[in-house]
Point group: C2
Chain length 226, copies 2
């Protein structure tokens, strides 16, 4: 059976980072045409014998020096005109990390690599703005039914840090009293007998993430209903 099809398959990585209480996004500056010099998601074409997951990890590593063991598949973008060169579909993946854990460095097809504040993104190549919008929706949706992002805080943190993380990722204010009541009722945070100042008010108790309880909640399904 011969399939006369000339569609190319690419992968793209939407890597979100939480730093200085702001949501960031990892972008590369393209070295080649099309969109030469423009900013884009790290990504590239899948090799013939490589899984999609291996491809997105490889492209990310090659172009930005960032190694991420698990990226979640987001969506496949396949509009016929999305690449001006030829028909190419993009299987997009996303992840949420701590930027300080990585030493970013541009290489191969990338001239530069940077973390951009999500509220100050440059103009983007291809349909990457659409892919990012889609990833943000997915991330925010996920936050409402799963406690995402504990790995983004220090081991011990103020409740206000956790609240700020959620408020930042969701990009909306949180009803503090209800949120605290709800989160504490799940038992995923342990209040420690140790205080720290948030730099403004009087010292407040530190909290620690209860990982066992987290995995238990995760398996049962988890609803914040924010």
């Amino acid at each position: 059976m011969t399939i006369s099809q000339t569609i190319k398959v690419a992968v793209d990585a939407v890597v979100f980072g939480y730093r200085n209480q702001a949501l960031h996004l990892l972008l590369i500056q393209r070295k080649l045409q099309p969109y030469e010099g423009g900013w884009a998601l790290p990504g590239g074409f899948v090799l013939d014998n490589e899984s999609l997951e291996a491809a997105v990890q490889r492209e990310l590593r090659e172009e930005t020096n960032v190694t991420i063991n698990y990226l979640e598949q987001l969506y496949t973008f396949g509009a016929p005109e999305r690449d001006p060169r030829f028909r190419a579909i993009a299987v997009a993946y996303y992840a949420l990390v701590k930027p300080d854990a990585f030493e970013i460095a541009a290489s191969t097809d990338a001239d530069d690599v940077r973390w951009f504040d999500i509220n100050a993104l440059p103009e983007l190549a291809f349909d990457h703005a659409e892919i990012i919008r889609h990833a943000l929706r997915r991330l925010r949706n996920k936050l409402t039914y799963e406690p995402v992002g504990f790995g983004l805080l220090s081991e011990k943190f103020l409740f206000s840090d956790f609240e700020k993380l959620y408020s930042t990722l969701l990009n909306k204010p949180i009803d503090r009293r209800n949120f605290r009541k709800k989160v504490m009722s799940f038992g995923i945070l342990t209040e420690l007998d140790e205080k720290r100042s948030d730099g403004k008010g009087r010292p407040a108790n530190l909290f620690q993430f209860n990982e066992d309880q987290y995995f238990k909640m995760k398996n049962q399904g988890f609803y914040f209903e924010l």
Copy 2:
């Protein structure tokens, strides 16, 4: 820029049907090698100038005579060995319909087409069993945060029909009292001044779906927490 890549792009349709209070799945019997004579999801290769959505609709129409205007993208399956002929990735889509609304008829690559009870599926070609498992998880997950499947019931229905639909799709018993209380509290069902017997007990009131309220809830996010 030349991309020496020989990956083919296919689409597959997971079409669930709800009939006789049971969940069904639309499958075709393959006319060609590989897996000749085996059962498989309707699907096929994307044409060079066709969107992924158009491709899955076309393949479904050609192979089964079923026209569905909206299928939701499920996941892209790309393991290097999933097709014994060549490297082929499959962008899978799914939908949930009323089987009686369609006159199925096998054509092109299909020798036969049938609705199978989800609990009595035949052996499946390729990685289609995995794709179906994935689609079932997604469908069941979606049911817990969105009121799916009202279109599967008659215009006026007994609350027990609705409960049975949910119980069947979720494949688990439902706590009747809590479920009814929760569903009614959302205001998406209107209780009518009209009765019908369920064939067993005394006549019970009929219900109608409140579409305006449904879309309002949908926009706000919706949590059954079943």
